[in-house]
Symmetry: C2
Amino acid sequence: MKKFMNKAESMVAESLEGFVLANERLVMFGSDRKFVRRRHLVPGKVAIISGGGAGHEPLHVGFVGQGMLDAACTGHIFTSPTPDQIIAAIEETDTGAGCLLIVKNYDGDVMNFEMAAETLAGRHRIEIVIVSDDAAAYGAARSSGRRGVAGTLIVEKVLGAAAEAGVGLVDLKQLGERLGKQIRTIGVALGGVTVPDTARATFLLEPDEMEVGVGIHGEPGVSRQRLADADAIAAMLCDTILADQGMRNAGVPALLLVNGFGGTPTPELYLIYNVARRLIEARGIRIVRSLVGTYVTSLDMAGLSVTLSFLDDETLRLWDAPVLTAALR
Amino acid sequence: MKKFMNKAESMVAESLEGFVLANERLVMFGSDRKFVRRRHLVPGKVAIISGGGAGHEPLHVGFVGQGMLDAACTGHIFTSPTPDQIIAAIEETDTGAGCLLIVKNYDGDVMNFEMAAETLAGRHRIEIVIVSDDAAAYGAARSSGRRGVAGTLIVEKVLGAAAEAGVGLVDLKQLGERLGKQIRTIGVALGGVTVPDTARATFLLEPDEMEVGVGIHGEPGVSRQRLADADAIAAMLCDTILADQGMRNAGVPALLLVNGFGGTPTPELYLIYNVARRLIEARGIRIVRSLVGTYVTSLDMAGLSVTLSFLDDETLRLWDAPVLTAALR
C-alpha cells in the first residue's frame, strides 16, 4: 500500500485541514474542528447536515456550500462520525428554522445521527432523511435494508437547493423521502481497497474477476463474476437497476450518474455512461440530466457505480439550481 | 490490467462519445468527430484550440466551453492528434479573429500543431503558445526543453478568459508567453501505468520506491527515490519548484495547484496541499488561489504534481473570470 500520508491515524485530520485551507472562501472548520461548515450561514434557512466515515471524498465535505450542505461531519476512515460531532454541527448551524440530517443507511451512521437528534430533542427541531439507494442490497438478507451509496449526492443536491429556496423542515423531509424512492444505484469493483490503518486489502480478486454489488466501504458485493467487457458490464448494471421495484416508470425523465470509486479514470466512466445511456433510453426512459465523475468513493477502489434517478418538475428544477461547493458547482 | 473497456483500439472514441453525450449542453463533435468543440461559438472572438494524446482527461476536452477552449483535438492514448484533426478544428472554430493554439511541449504535439498552422497560413491568422512548465526536465539533457504538464490548465484558463473578454490574437500570444514563464510543476509517481494497447506497465517500482520528476505519459522521471512520508515528499517537490530559475519572486501572489495523475484519491492531494502551502508561504509567497483535484492525468497513475503559478493583477482577474466547462466551472 503506497499512499501520500504521514501517519494513518492523522491522515484524515491533515487532509481536512488542507481541504479547508484550499477552499477557505467557501468553508471553515466548526468548533474544535469537529465538522466542516459553510462559511456564510443563511439565517432562517433550514440547516442541511450530513456526514459519514472518511474515505468517500468528495462526499460529504466537498458538498458543503451554497445550495447544498451547511455542515459535514467526518469520522475516521470508513467509521461513523461521533454523536458529539453531529451535536456540535447542529448547534452551530441551526439558525432557527431547524435542521435536516441526511444519513446514508449504514448502522453506525444511522445510530450516531439518531443519538445526536435525540440528545437535542426539545432544543432543536430536527428531522432525518435516510438514503438507501443501493439496488444490490435489495432482497439480500440485510436486516437494515438497502445501503446508502452514490445516490446520496442527489439527495444532498436537491434538498440543499430546496432549503436554499426557503422550503421548511417538514416539507424537506417529505421531499427527501419521495425523492429517495426514485433513486437506485448499483456498483461494480475491479479490486478491493486497502485501508491505511490495517494495510490489508478488504478483498482480493483474480485478474479475470469482478465484484458486483459492492458498497463504498470496501466490503465484498453480492456476487463475484467473470470480468466482462464494458458493454456487458453496463448492460448487467442497467438491468439490475431497471428490474428493481419502483424503477419501471418508462417515459419519465431521469438523471443518469456514473460515479467512480476513486481509482477509475474518468474516460472509463464516460465509456460506461455511453453504453448505459443508450440501454436505458432504449427502455423508454428519457435521460435529461447527466453527471459523470468521481464523487462518492471508496478510497482508491477501482470500480464505479451507475445511478438512475427519476425527476419530476420540482426535483429537476432543484437539480438545476445554483450550487457553489468545492466538488459541485 | 483491468479496465472498463470493450476494445483498446476503440476506447478513446467510445469514451469521447459518452463525454459529448453527457455534456451535450456545452459541447458537440466537430466535423467527422475529429475534435470536440464548444457548442456555441462566439463570432469575432479569437478561437482557443488545444489538444494532445488521450489519457490526460479531463485535459483537454473537459476544458472546452465558455471562458476556456473552443476546441480540443484528442489523439489515441499518449499519441498526438494528427494535423488533419487540428486543421479541421481551426477551420470550423475560427470565426474571423484568428486562432490561438495551446500546445504542450512534446515533440509530436508541437510538430503536428505547427504542421497544421503552416498548412493554413495565409488563410487563417494563427499563433501558437507552447507550454513548458515542467521543473523536472530543466537542466536535463532534453533537447526539446521543459515538458508541458499540469500548468497547461492554467494557461488554458487564463488565455480562454482573455479571449472571451475580447483580447486580440497578438496580445493573447504575448500574455501566454509571459504567463508561461511564471508557472512551474513537478510530479511524483508511486507506480507506472499500463497502456491499454500494450497491456504492459511503463515502469515498475518496488514497494518502497517512488519516481520523481515524471511526466504525464507514463515515462520514467529524473530520479528514483526511497518512498518518504507526505511531509518529506511535499518539501522535496516545493524545493525543486522554488529552486527553479524565475521562481524566486517572494511576496508575489500565487496560485497553488495540486493535481492528481488519475489513481490518487483526492484526500491525499489535500494532505500534500496542506504541507505544500505552508512551506511555500514560509518562503514569503502568498497563496491567493488554490486548485486541488484530478485535472491532468496519466491514465490511472498513482501520483501527483504540484504547480506554482505567480499571478499579477491581470492574470488573477482572468483566473477568477467565469468558466463553464465539464471539468472546471
